[in-house]
């Protein structure tokens, strides 16, 4: 019996010939990522037990992305704690403020995260690794055990397979596919139970570049998927080879792999989608949301923060102005992307349009530590979800769309169809 992608990578990392869903294993990760907000808790826990050394400090990657601009005394205190922890633990790969960007984006761009890899992360959007053909498993506060011992227990997830058929229409992007998929799963049209599943994409994937693949990793994660995987195309492999910091060996599912369920999604006729406030499964065709006035817009996050996402947004902002009553925030996914946009003029397009540029990282998508909303205000953004309170007030209404839809809406002052912009 063949193996799915997640079974194969976990078999490789545990030295096993084969694995079955449901088995408990202890994979040896390629690296271990901890984000800024979790360091204090992990350091306190290990200190209280007298654990004063990490199993593999050389594998540990510390990233400041959730709260990059210290907007409070507490954040500044966390910054000091994080820097002291890096020093005490001997962590050299410390991407502090202004040094890397979003931990689920810049490692793919810098050749740290490569096809076929496996890593542990405290944060659940580590599923982005599937864009490049790798897996990152969310372990939450149990990252402390990974730091101390080098691994942790993992149950091998069951795998679902989704075959995409067709080609996206003009003005329709990967985020739209993700929102649409969430709606179909909620309706039962695609009969997937996503909790703790690995989702493999297959079919007509060649037109999905790295940014579009990362975007499509996002919605399944919100539905509970633990891993999302795209078999790396020749173009993805070439991208990885150009910048690889290590040797790598891509993995692909076996042709006779066993899936819990499989389904096909025709993507030809998908309209731009808008997720309504509450949860992404509530998405509607954009015609049902057009005209809703907005106060706030945000482009960025792990799902829409790559260079190509921002270039798409910029194409709708070029030569236009953000509507007078709207504040538009843009958070690039990496410092590399910010530099590239400075060099090729895209930053100027954003600034001339009146957008407010944030440092690379999560932006408002992490508990609205920057750019929050007041009760009664309305936002449209590319955030990972539209849960009440994600951008501050629980009485604010949060809509989601693709980078194109958000940019077009920011200019219009109301939710707008990018095909008419």
């Amino acid at each position: 019996m063949g193996m799915t992608a997640v079974e194969k990578v976990l078999a490789r990392k545990t030295g096993r010939a084969s694995l079955q869903p449901g088995e408990v294993v202890y994979p040896d990760p390629d690296f271990i990522m901890i984000h800024d907000g979790l360091v204090r808790g992990a350091k306190r826990e290990l200190d209280s037990l007298g654990i004063d050394r990490l199993a593999r400090p050389d594998k540990v990657v510390m990233v400041t992305d959730h709260e990059v601009i210290y907007g409070s005394p507490r954040a500044a205190e966390f910054g000091v704690i994080n820097r002291n922890a890096a020093k005490a633990w001997g962590v050299k790969q410390f991407f502090d403020v202004g040094r890397g960007g979003h931990g689920h984006i810049f490692p793919m761009e810098s050749g740290m995260l490569l096809p076929g890899m496996f890593y542990f992360d405290n944060d659940r959007h580590s599923t982005n690794a599937g864009a490049i053909g790798a897996f990152g498993f969310r372990i939450g506060a149990e990252i402390s055990r990974v730091l101390a011992t080098g691994t942790n227990w993992v149950t091998v997830p069951a795998t679902l397979r989704l075959v995409l058929k067709g080609k996206l229409g003009r003005g329709v992007y990967a985020r739209d596919v993700g929102f649409y998929l969430a709606r179909l799963i909620r309706q039962g049209t695609i009969p997937f139970e996503m909790d703790y599943r690995a989702l493999e994409f297959a079919g007509d994937l060649d037109s999905f570049d790295l940014a579009e693949r990362a975007a499509l990793c996002n919605s399944p994660t919100e539905l509970g998927a633990y891993g999302v995987f795209f078999p790396p195309s020749e173009r993805i492999l070439a991208f990885a080879r150009e910048r690889a910091q290590h040797a790598f060996a891509p993995i692909y599912p076996d042709p006779d792999a066993s899936y819990e369920k499989q389904a096909t999604l025709a993507i030809d006729g998908i309209e731009p989608q808008v997720a309504l406030p509450g949860e992404i499964q509530t998405s509607v065709d954009i015609s049902e949301a057009v005209g809703q006035p907005i106060d706030h817009a945000f482009i960025g996050s792990c799902g829409s923060g790559m260079y190509e996402d921002l270039a798409t947004a910029a194409s709708f902002l070029k030569g236009r102005r953000v509507a007078p009553n709207v504040r538009l925030f843009v958070a690039p996914g990496s410092e590399r992307t910010t530099r590239r946009m400075a060099a090729d003029g895209l930053l100027n397009v954003l600034v001339e349009a009146g957008a407010i540029l944030l440092p690379a990282g999560c932006g408002p998508c992490n508990d609205a530590v920057v750019g929050p909303l007041h009760a009664g205000e309305v936002s449209i953004s590319t955030a990972s979800n539209s849960n009440a309170g994600r951008f501050g007030s629980k009485q604010a209404r949060l809509f989601l769309g693709s980078p194109a839809t958000v940019a077009a809406s920011a200019v219009a002052g109301a939710i707008a169809d990018p095909r008419g912009a």
């Binding site: 037990l49 939450g140 055990r145």
Partner: protein, 181 residues
């Protein structure tokens, strides 16, 4: 590493039955304790099931077993399980989101999931017994026996040591001894 043989895997007590889709925030413990990151068992205990059943903690006895329907404890939160563990309770569910199950194990709670239709086999107040190591369920009141998937062997050690922190403590002590030997 520590053996799990002497750990009391068998609980005998009263059934406390809940329905489907009980969320951790509100359904198990008030949201303010979760967002406040309260992890002290003594501070959490008085608030367990407070919103649906005030005074639960005063009536609960060590050995009692919470029996739930599908999709229990939504959200990967630990606060409610810390209180259950400190009270000496057990938990068996028709299903739990994986991360909720993982959180319960991380707190050292005796827990079983995938107990198909278990809520049809008992009512609140029934005298029940659950062996978390073997998966055996017995309802003494109604004379019903059933086998469910046990706690996986690989995870028993974590529960027996009181959860993640207990496990790490034991591991560190063992690795220091190993280094000194």
């Amino acid at each position: 590493m520590a053996g799990t043989k002497d750990f009391p895997w068998l609980l005998k007590g009263r059934c406390y039955k809940l329905g489907h889709n009980v969320s951790h925030a509100g359904g198990v413990i008030p949201d303010r304790l979760i967002t406040g990151r309260e992890m002290d068992p003594q501070k959490l205990i008085p608030h367990l099931f407070e919103e649906s059943d005030p005074g639960f903690h005063q009536r609960a006895r060590a050995g009692d077993i919470i029996v739930t329907g599908r999709n229990f404890g939504m959200g990967p939160k630990m606060n409610g399980y810390i209180a259950m563990q400190a009270l000496g309770l057990g938990l068996i569910c028709e299903s739990m989101p994986y991360l909720a199950y993982r959180a319960a194990i991380g707190c050292g709670l005796r827990v079983l999931t995938d107990c198909h239709n278990v809520t049809e086999l008992c009512e609140t107040g029934d005298e029940i017994e659950v062996d978390f190591q073997s998966g055996q369920f017995i309802n003494r009141t109604r004379d019903i026996r059933k086998e469910y998937p046990p706690l996986p062997e690989a995870l028993q050690e974590i529960v027996a040591l009181g959860g993640n922190t207990g496990w790490l403590k034991q591991w560190w002590s063992a690795s220091k001894q190993g280094a000194g030997a």
